[in-house]
Symmetry: D2
Subunit: 336 residues, 4 copies
């Protein structure tokens, strides 16, 4: 039985705790937080769990095999690296760490010690994103033409990170999971309407073959939108994450380059107009899948969908985007 | 009585003809087109109008005071400049001309001859855009923070111009009418999915004081959207041009920088959440207003809302955007 | 070549005129209206057509084979019966006539003279309704469980008929075309909010086997809705006539009576949750199909989709509904 | 300090428990359920609470002042009457009881013993319904013309009650709270598509002055709707309970009887078209307000918004509707 501890009982931690507590593949043995009140308040729901304010003591506990890190981003590296050094498998909230360098060190540390390192890119485990990926892989969508995402609302102006690290991290993790090609460069323009952190940003990621991914994130919008449009040569997808039903709509629409010289002269392309289908999606909790994959990997099973390398790939793009913002949206190359 | 002729009876021309024919301030006297069938087909609805294939003869007609040019973009300059040289007042379909240089020459020509030159930026005359402008001018919206427009659909791949000159021209004309500040630079990334013309583009226009306008245009989208979001320090606007009712929604939402040091430390800003109002808008035909303003100006009244200079300002941005597209989205400065 | 005349150039007449004028199967030869201005104004668009204020003279014209009646409801019977008596085929705007008795007389007259009598139930010829009918006939939807229609808006308070004869006539014609069973009874409650005509009504039509059709019509609603929900044992349909795209949505949803005794005890039924599909529909003008079917029948082809009998069946239900309204919504039996 | 016990820990009970546990005006002292597992599972979250399978012992506990009854409908009367007989104040889940007679007995019993009896009509305590009521009372809406509610979805086929007692109970409680007039009669048609309980029903409630309330409830609909339209002589309201924002929209739309004889002859009424406003509503939990009002009344404060009499009034209408269903939708008078 895998012994699990969760570090950080703030906003997201309680969800991770709940999921591990319900999975039969592990035993949730300890909760850890510096804040005694938060710790005891959450602990009351899990009477079998020991509560721990001292992270060092947790690391020395032989009954803890794996640690989930749900603390603020700035502390991810310190906590995760200490846990790996102490021989614990580690699951880290997104983003994996605050810099590319820190991500690389965590990956190395995990590899050296033969430990699992996984990042919690929750959306990658959701039914809609899994369904899109499967349609892309099977050729159902045809060649990918563009990816356009809008993630806006009147959101919390976070005191520690800007809107890119808060919201665009989701889109970049989804893009990386869907688009197998290597990105060439990133360009990003960001505006800090109040305070010093950007509250609105437009990010462009350029791939070979004229493929473009574009992300609009905004903390200062009057309406809440989570809309992604994916253009393919055979079909097109609209993914509305906030829709209570029909989150995915697949359109049999598009254009085809015509052989007919008359059409070519006049309109260049032919138009296809067909059915729209909204596939039925199971209502799973993506975080439950994150935790199950982690436990399966710890138990010697296949590597998780989002290992440390997936976390690094996302942070590499966020870091480049950040550099672009500082340089008035100049392109930042993404070579290895 | 002002004598009017319309040149070009293709896609948009018949709408201009219909409006002039219904306005009591003028007499629609001639229709002109190179295509005899198109001309006679349209002419049948206006039996009092003479039909003219020879544009030169039209220019020599003393009963024609004003000419509306509804021909393809590439011919705007030649036709409009000939008309102005012949002493006719001129209304030109958007965009005013295909280059900044041509726009400037038309403006000069009109000024030298004391003639009216107006560009038909139809949206600028629409009820929703007029209402937004009035709210911005009155201070109702507060400081303008951003302008974000999405104009996408499975559109006709035009054989003569790209998606920027076809669709973004509308957004740029709206932006220019709403934002009094001078733009600093433009950046635009465009993709030609099929053929040689860009079918998707993201354009950014940067102003002073961290104000940003962003436009997404796309001929290859499965759904049709015409959505503009305008962020202000006091209120925010969502403008859905395709909505059959409630095209404008005004949100009493936003953030305010707090004086309270506790709030400042935690969240940086305070949130305002108030009513949403969708003002009742009259159902006018914007093109009718375009034609009326033109006739009023010809008759010695005030200058139209969109004189030649407005057409030049739009083409200046489109030209800069085009240059940016060719240079991988490099910023193009917009100094005079 | 079939010679056609249109009587009545008011609201709907011009649409009928336009369609007949464009169909190669006939020649539009005369327009007739008592109002000289209306007649000459419409006539200008059809210079080849003679204009006629005298209906009697029209009836005596040997070059007129068929007459379309687009006059107010109260005059349908007098005009159509005179036309039939004069040996002309007749197409009548909905409803066929103002009473069951009048409808029956028109049907008899047409039969006696071997003439075509068709009623213009436009919606029956529309792509969405045709598609629904085809799905019902093929068994795709399974057994029909219910039909629920909402047709509301802030509508014109008509001075001659109530909301039932103005709006519910559409729903009843659609229902009659979709549901092959004979209706047992009608119940209808109506309210006259202003004036003497009902401006809101709820109509229920009861069939055998617990099948129910229900219609809500309202001239006094703040929003415009044209929504029909059709429940079937295999699939369910939502038909939104105002939706610019995806007017039909087919849901693979429903319940099945379970064989499993455990489920039967607990929940009675099993739930099916599947894909939703919005079939692509051609954008045809339904009225064009009405006119084509009429001409085909006049030319000796198959009987039209909505012959006089279809008009009678609708008026029979409207008349019964009207009687129910007068009697506080008492059921009115619909035996033959 | 008021000592509270909750009886019934099934579907709704845990919400009631959570709310009482968080209110400082009381102490949650006991949970009671026949099912030991359910009891201990819920009890774990409230370690200070004693768990009780024996309802009789609970009645004898002197530290329990008030009891909330969250058991199946059929048991409401037995449990609530025993609690009142034992001198406990009682809050009962909707509907108050299964028959008018039982409701009346509970009211009598509470009155005789000077105890509070309240029914949990949750929607009545919600922000949207409170806002509508306040607008109706203040004259903002003008005279009430109609109330139309649609509450449909693919819902659980309940094994104990039909769709009227399951869903329409909400609408009737809302109607009773909004409409001060006495209802004259009820008519209801219901269909049992599967099994013996009605799964779809249309209910009409008739008031004086041509005011009509109409309710459509359906367990067999492919889409989930919770939409109420309220017509008033000055304004109209659309209430979409499922909308994540803008649940209420107030339309400055309507008609007015015109003084102008010309208008009267032609169209009978004048049309008003004005702004639409969606008022900002606080996000409160209605059940919390239910519990607070109950405690305040127990503590000697004002009577609750929904005392036993409100529960009786709702059951009176449901019972009449049920009788109407059995008699093919015959009207059932609602005299006292």
């Amino acid at each position: 039985m895998i012994g699990v501890a969760v570090v950080g009982c703030g906003y997201w931690g309680p969800n991770v705790v709940r999921n591990f507590s319900q999975l039969p593949e592990c035993e949730l043995r300890a909760l850890c937080d510096l804040d005694r009140d938060r710790l005891s308040s959450l602990g009351r729901l899990y009477p079998g769990c020991r509560l721990e304010q001292d992270f060092e003591r947790l690391l020395r506990s032989p009954d803890i095999d794996a640690i989930a890190v749900c603390t603020p981003v700035a502390s991810h590296f310190a906590i995760a690296s200490a846990a790996l050094a102490a021989g614990k498998h580690v699951l880290v909230e997104k983003p994996l760490a605050d810099t590319v360098e820190h991500c690389e060190k965590l990956i190395d540390l995990a590899a050296q010690n033969g430990l699992i390192l996984q990042v919690d890119h929750t959306f990658v485990y959701s039914e809609p994103v899994r369904a899109i990926r499967s349609m892309l892989r099977s050729g159902h969508i045809g060649d990918l033409l563009y990816f356009d995402s809008v993630r806006i609302n009147l959101g919390l102006f976070r005191p520690d990170v800007n809107v890119i690290w808060d919201l665009a991290v989701h889109d970049v993790s989804i893009i990386n999971c869907l688009i197998p090609q290597k990105p060439l460069w990133v360009s990003c323009i960001g505006i800090a309407h109040y305070g010093r952190f950007e509250s609105q940003a437009y990010m462009t990621i350029r791939y070979e073959n004229s493929l473009l991914a574009h992300i609009h994130v905004n903390w200062l919008a009057p309406v809440k939108l989570r809309t992604t449009v994916i253009g393919g040569s055979k079909r097109m997808i609209v993914y509305e994450d906030l829709s209570p039903s029909e989150k995915l709509r697949i359109y049999e629409k598009g254009v085809t380059t015509s052989e007919d010289p008359d059409i070519r002269k006049r309109a260049l392309v032919d138009y296809r107009l067909g059915n729209m289908t909204a596939p039925h999606l199971e209502k799973t909790e993506p975080l439950r899948e994150v935790c199950r994959e982690f436990l399966r990997a710890v138990d010697g099973g296949p590597a998780p969908l989002t290992p440390g390398e997936a976390g690094l790939a996302v942070v590499r793009i966020l870091e480049a985007a950040q550099r672009s913002v500082r340089n008035s949206s100049d392109r930042v190359l993404l070579g290895d």
